[in-house]
């Protein structure tokens, strides 16, 4: 087995950025500290969005989770909270993420399997029963446009509990690229209509729930498709631009009135320094874009509040305990990169949803990083590293370059509609597979240090196979007991609002309060706008 030193290979980051053997002062002598790096808590925020960072407030330990029925997910969340989790994040099943009901005949095999099944406000009441959602924010991840019903159901549930929406913390879904390209959902509507609905949600939340982040620009699944770190950045900023431009076009809110509501999600992949540099570059890019292009003055418009998830595609089925190590390195990178919130995968990622044991280890991995390693004592401790600052710069430059390609392809909407984006993703997928199969990208246990397959030693998680029957029965009961006249009235209003261009959220909110289901709401916009299928062939 030849060592890295013996092979005559070019050294590059996983994104393909060439790296030198050693970096020195000459590599960063073009950098101006105040202009390019800045102290933490000050523009351009390269070093962190808060002056005190983890001394002031540690990153939230927020595990994306959910499975089977709302009751079982409530139990799971209570358990996570007892284990020391400091933020909630709901993984819905794919039918729910798509805004499709559990009794839709197409959904049968997928209900409750990849996440929790939720169809009406009643399910939200169950999922969050007894949980301190007013103190500990929740991230509710749903695809667009289902995020409208999901957000409305969450808000309606909170109001029923007597909580004040104006003080409710948390984050919604709405990532367009995820739902339309990286991990396409069912029953999509055309991109420009999707954008309109998402911006309706943003605009409405700014007035009704100012502490809530309705937009979660979520690059996790984009990165997981195989694109590079700088492409992940470029797509993020192309999407930010699309939302901002759409809102500004409406001439109703100024940049500083809505940009503070944005939140961001990124992946944390395995090239250690590149991922740290990526977060730093992201902060600087947001600061530049919001102030220079959009004239933002409120720092909250250009502070990149980011949640990060360790990259599932870097974990392997072979020798699964190796994933414990990969996840620990990725957690370390996330912390050194200055994330505000973090999900650490469980080591059985390539096999099943987390078991209690693997979940606990994921939580403990974060807790050990926070409590024992002392990395949280100092803000952006790697700043000034010749390598890291060079890499931050290089990633930023590549990201802006790739972003101009997205613009040339028609921007977010044009690139989605034409399938340009999907073809770019395919190129990345194929490239990554070639790197792995040729051995150019080494993965321990897969193309080096390979061992014969052994039976998986751990427990395997299984979702409740009765979930679909339970939810179907619940839906029957709800449809029988609710005032169907009120439901129809709300849906008719929604249709009128869709057609007239009025903000859809008030009618969605009305609908969910009458126990209208996810699917009944989705059906209206699918009827009005038609179903769009991603152009992937």
């Amino acid at each position: 087995m030849s060592s890295v030193n013996e092979e005559k290979e070019e050294f590059r980051t996983n994104s393909g950025i060439p790296v030198k053997e050693c970096y020195g002062p000459q590599d960063i002598n073009q950098l101006d500290y105040d202009r390019d790096i800045g102290p933490p808590g000050q523009s351009p925020y390269t070093r962190g969005i808060y002056a005190t960072m983890y001394r002031g407030r540690p990153w939230s330990i927020r595990q994306f989770s959910g499975h089977s029925t709302p009751e079982e997910t409530n139990q799971w969340f209570r358990q996570e909270y007892e284990m020391g989790q400091t933020g909630f994040s709901v993984a819905f099943d794919v039918p729910t993420e798509s805004g499709i009901d559990s009794d839709d005949p197409r959904a049968e095999a997928d209900v409750g399997v990849g996440g929790v099944a939720a169809d009406t406000i009643e399910d939200f009441e169950i999922i969050f029963d007894g949980l301190p959602i007013d103190e500990v924010g929740t991230s509710i991840v749903a695809g667009c446009p289902a995020t409208c019903q999901v957000t409305a159901m969450y808000f309606a549930m909170a109001e029923k509990r007597g909580l004040d929406l104006k003080r409710l913390p948390g984050t919604g879904g709405t990532d367009l690229i995820t739902g339309m390209c990286a991990e396409p959902l069912m029953d999509l509507i055309p991109p420009h209509h999707m954008l309109r609905i998402c911006v309706d949600l943003i605009e409405w939340c700014c007035k009704v729930a100012p502490r809530w982040h309705p937009v979660n620009i979520d690059m996790y699944n984009i990165r997981e498709s195989g694109v590079t770190a700088y492409q992940e950045l470029a797509y993020m900023f192309a999407e930010i631009g699309a939302y901002v431009d759409e809102e500004l076009k409406r001439n109703r809110l100024s940049i500083d009135e809505f940009a503070p509501s944005f939140a961001y999600n990124m992946s944390m992949d395995i090239d250690f320094f590149e991922e740290i540099a990526k977060l730093r570059a992201a902060r600087r890019m947001l600061s530049k874009m919001m102030t220079r292009k959009y004239g933002a003055k409120n720092p909250r418009s250009y502070q990149l509040r980011v949640h990060v998830q360790t990259g599932g595609s870097t974990h392997t089925r072979q020798q699964p305990l190796n994933n414990v190590v990969r996840i620990a390195y990725e957690v370390l990178a996330a912390a050194l990169g200055g994330t505000q919130s973090l999900h650490a995968n469980a080591y059985d990622e390539a096999i099943c949803l987390p078991t209690e044991e693997s979940l606990k280890l994921a939580l403990r991995t974060q807790q050990i990083a926070q409590m024992e390693t002392k990395i949280a004592n100092v803000v952006d401790p790697l700043a000034g590293s010749y390598y890291l600052e060079s890499l931050t710069d290089a990633l930023e430059k590549e990201a802006w370059d790739y972003m101009s390609k997205i613009e040339q392809a028609g921007g977010l909407v044009g690139a989605l509609d034409s399938g340009w984006m999907h073809r770019e993703f395919i190129k990345a997928m194929v490239e990554r597979q070639k790197e792995i199969e040729s051995g150019k990208r080494k993965i321990v246990g897969v193309n080096c240090f390979v061992e014969p397959d052994e039976p998986y030693p751990g427990k395997v998680f299984h979702a409740n196979p009765e979930t679909v029957n339970i939810q179907e029965a619940k839906l029957k009961r709800i449809r029988a007991m609710r005032d169907n006249g009120k439901v129809q009235k709300a849906l008719d209003q929604l249709r009128r609002d869709l057609e007239s261009g009025a903000n859809v959220m008030p009618s969605v909110m009305e609908a969910v309060k009458t126990y209208t289901t996810m699917g009944e709401i989705s059906k209206v916009w699918c009827d009005v706008f038609g179903i769009w299928v991603p152009p992937i062939h």
Binding site: V94, R106, D110, V113, P184, L185, R317, M429, V430
Partner: protein, 137 residues
């Protein structure tokens, strides 16, 4: 007589709802690169997959699995193919399949299961070898 690659027709589909398509597309690209004709149909119901496979007169159906509800989904594809008398179509499965289900799936009629972390040439070789065998029979 080996079936020429450019006559091998494959349908690649993701049964059910799960939107992860990286595995399916990576295999699609590799099979195309190897000279096969691949029809990628993305997310479809099991019944639609069987119908499309018959309409397109494919030799192989490749099902890409990320959803844990795969037993129901795969069995519905197989049942539909049987009802359409299309059991000559080789069904292969790739993705997240639990080891405990592998034998059961093969008994149901899945020709082979390709787990994560494998090489695309394994799939290509399997298809070529199995179609060659079919031609001989």
């Amino acid at each position: 007589m080996e079936k020429q690659d450019n006559h091998i027709r494959v349908l690649i589909a993701v049964p059910g709802f799960d939107g992860h398509w990286r595995g399916a597309m990576t295999v699609t690209a590799a099979l195309r690169d190897a000279g096969m004709e691949v029809i990628y149909v993305g997310n479809q119901t099991p019944e639609a997959i069987a119908e499309m496979a018959v309409q397109e007169d494919v030799d192989v159906i490749g099902l890409s699995i990320f959803s844990a509800g795969y037993m129901r989904l795969i069995s519905r594809v197989l049942a539909d193919l049987k009802a359409k008398r299309a059991e000559h179509i080789i069904v292969i499965v790739g993705g997240i399949i639990l080891p405990e289900h592998i034998n059961q799936l093969k008994e149901m009629g899945v020709a082979e299961i390709f787990l994560p972390g494998g090489r695309t040439e394994t799939i290509i070789n399997f298809i070529r070898e199995n179609l060659e065998q079919k031609m001989v029979l």
